[in-house]
Homo-oligomer: 205 residues x 2
């Protein structure tokens, strides 16, 4: 008999430990949440449920070499700050747009992780009739939640603190079921929040 703690999971705890930071990732260093969402979006596309992609990281190319014909090698480039959110697409005829953030904090979500341009972009999404939200993961608690963008932005604008307590998310967000296919069943949360009879309410809390 093998004790659970002795089993070496090839992609489980190892992957977890090599995760470098819960801060915004730049290009190569994808977070585990990002990888879960990419898998989920691929599953949703393959099954024809939705057409949602992560946008490529914007990169400013400065120098390009052509070591071989038809093979451009970029030799100098820099990450640029995106002007929008990371994910968008179409689901049930509606425009979908969201940002995903992961924190290891157990008690609150730090607001420095949400940038002004993301807030402004998601406000415009709502103005144009799209559906905008945040996917927030408390990775230490193993909980991922979907929160309507309008609700979270209202909360951000009304608070004077540098973070929003976990209980606010627990009461205002929809818990996202984790599994294998899809890794994150976040479209079920979208159904609940935007396609059921009770649209999300803003309560100013």
């Amino acid at each position: 008999m093998v004790a659970m703690s002795q089993i070496r999971y090839p992609t489980g705890s190892a992957q977890w430990n090599t995760q470098k930071s819960t801060r915004d990732n730049h290009g190569g260093r994808g977070t585990r949440l990002e990888s879960d969402l990419n898998d989920s979006n691929a599953y949703y596309r393959d099954t024809g449920r939705a057409l949602i992609y992560k946008k490529p990281t914007p990169i400013q190319v400065v120098k390009v070499d052509y070591p071989a014909r038809d093979r451009a090698k970029i030799t100098e480039a820099y990450y640029r700050t995106p002007s929008t959110t990371d994910y968008n697409g179409v689901y049930r005829g509606k425009y979908i747009d969201f940002e995903a953030k992961e924190t290891r904090n157990k008690t609150s979500f730090p607001l420095y992780m949400i940038h002004d341009h993301q807030i402004q972009h998601l406000e415009k999404v709502a103005l144009h009739g799209g559906i905008g939200f945040f996917i927030i993961r408390f990775s230490t608690l193993n909980q991922t939640m979907l929160v309507d963008a309008g609700q979270l932005i209202e909360k951000i604008k009304s608070t004077t603190h540098a973070s929003i307590p976990y209980p606010w998310f627990a009461s205002h967000g929809i818990f996202i079921q984790e599994g294998l296919y899809p890794r994150l069943a976040y479209l079920d949360a979208v159904d609940t929040l935007y396609f059921s009879q009770n649209p999300p309410e803003t309560d100013g809390q």
Copy 2:
């Protein structure tokens, strides 16, 4: 009196002459059409009419140096083939998705410029209830047209030729008005095609 041919336009004919290719551009080498569309989208965003962006070119980063703190310098990277189209966003509550192509041919549009993944993506956009189209510019003729994706894809699938004659575009596309603000009034063509009483018909031609 100065003859027209002697006037040197700072961004007109000069820009035209430095344009390297009418083939697909990779990263740095944007086409004039791409630049016109970026300007138009910025104008539409600023005036609150629509929220449409060009997606960043996907780049696979291989090596990153950190010559200074907080300043990552990419020293080896390669262009990747996109799996979607170049532009998407939201307009009048609908998901908008399109690809833009420019040819210097005067009599026909070469089909090698439209890739399989773009066709497949735009077919899925329609399935999910989004609006998908192509913007095709015949740059030598100074004409830019918007064509419904379903119509053009149907034509591509039914032809055995390597190109589609200009007259097909003239009769099935909507001419896009060029100006200063916006450079390309392509949303007027979207209004005509998708938001008027007569939706686009497919006729199998």
